[in-house]
């Protein structure tokens, strides 16, 4: 089993526990802006980059879809493939929103993933540092923010 790599150290323990307890194959924790906070199961920055961009976009569109259909945003999304399944959900800690996307197979189940994601949410709320070290980022700099977070997870590309 892999070990999560994180851009913010405080998420390492809850992410590891979620990965192990829910028997997830891979997963990414990110801000809704697309900035990755931690990941496991990936060895390639380009894969994480794609997942962050897609998750961020899916969150924005499913949230809007929820508003249109139900008057409030959807909180969770599940897609069952033939062999693997994708679970996507929101978590909040200290007013800050996070997105999580995880992949699992027949070694786990949606019910099990939901249980441990609930515990993960509680851990995030409990462990989140009071004061975040805010890095000044120009508003709307999606690509720059994504690249900076990937550098934190995998190291600068082309500079081993």
């Amino acid at each position: 089993m892999t070990t999560p790599t994180v851009a913010e150290a405080w998420v390492a323990a809850p992410l590891t526990r979620l990965m192990e307890d829910a028997r997830l194959i891979s997963g990414v924790l990110l801000y809704p802006t697309g900035r990755a906070v931690g990941q496991f199961g990936f060895s390639n920055a380009a894969d994480v980059m794609s997942i962050c961009a897609l998750t961020s976009a899916i969150n924005a569109s499913s949230r809007e879809l929820g508003r249109q259909l139900d008057g409030k945003p959807f909180y969770e999304l599940h897609h069952a493939g033939a062999e693997r399944q994708v679970f996507m959900a929101r978590a909040t800690a200290g007013g800050q929103e996070f997105l999580f996307v995880g992949v699992f197979d027949g070694e786990s189940s949606l019910g099990v993933v939901e249980i441990y994601f609930g515990e993960f949410q509680k851990s995030l709320e409990k462990l989140r540092p009071e004061k975040q070290v805010a890095t000044p980022v120009p508003a709307g700099d999606f690509e720059g923010e994504l690249n900076r977070s990937l550098d934190a997870l995998f190291g600068p590309i082309g500079k081993p």
Binding site: A80, S108, S109, G111, V112, E114, I115
Partner: protein
């Protein structure tokens, strides 16, 4: 199998049954559940029990297959304060949470009968 609500209603009236549930075998999500006959936080307890019991039953099925014993007929987990009983029925599993002094023979029989009936 009988309508899930009737199965749940019938199992929940067996003496000693604290809660009865019909749960998706592959996803572990509750399809139908009875009220919890105790003061604990019912929602989380049932949801967690359902997901983990279905998961455990799928592992037990694999173990049983590996031992060439075929499909497990009945699973009972004995704990300090009671039992969890699980019976597979095609795409669902029947799960009951039972008190320590319940008539387990009756619980087993009723669960297996419910799983067999169309």
């Amino acid at each position: 199998m009988k309508a899930v609500s009737r199965i749940v209603a019938s199992l929940s009236h067996v003496p000693g049954v604290i809660a009865a549930m019909v749960v998706g075998a592959s996803d572990g999500l509750i399809i139908e559940t009875s009220a919890m006959l105790s003061g604990v936080e019912a929602g989380d307890t049932r949801k967690h029990t359902a997901a983990l019991a279905a998961y455990l039953y799928s592992r037990i099925t694999r173990a049983s297959d590996a031992a060439r014993l075929g499909t497990p007929a009945f699973m009972r987990l004995e704990a300090e304060h009671g039992h969890i009983c699980v019976v597979g029925a095609r795409d669902v599993v029947l799960v009951t949470i039972v008190t320590p002094n319940a008539n387990l023979g009756r619980v087993r029989l009723d669960m297996m009968t419910a799983a067999r009936e169309d």
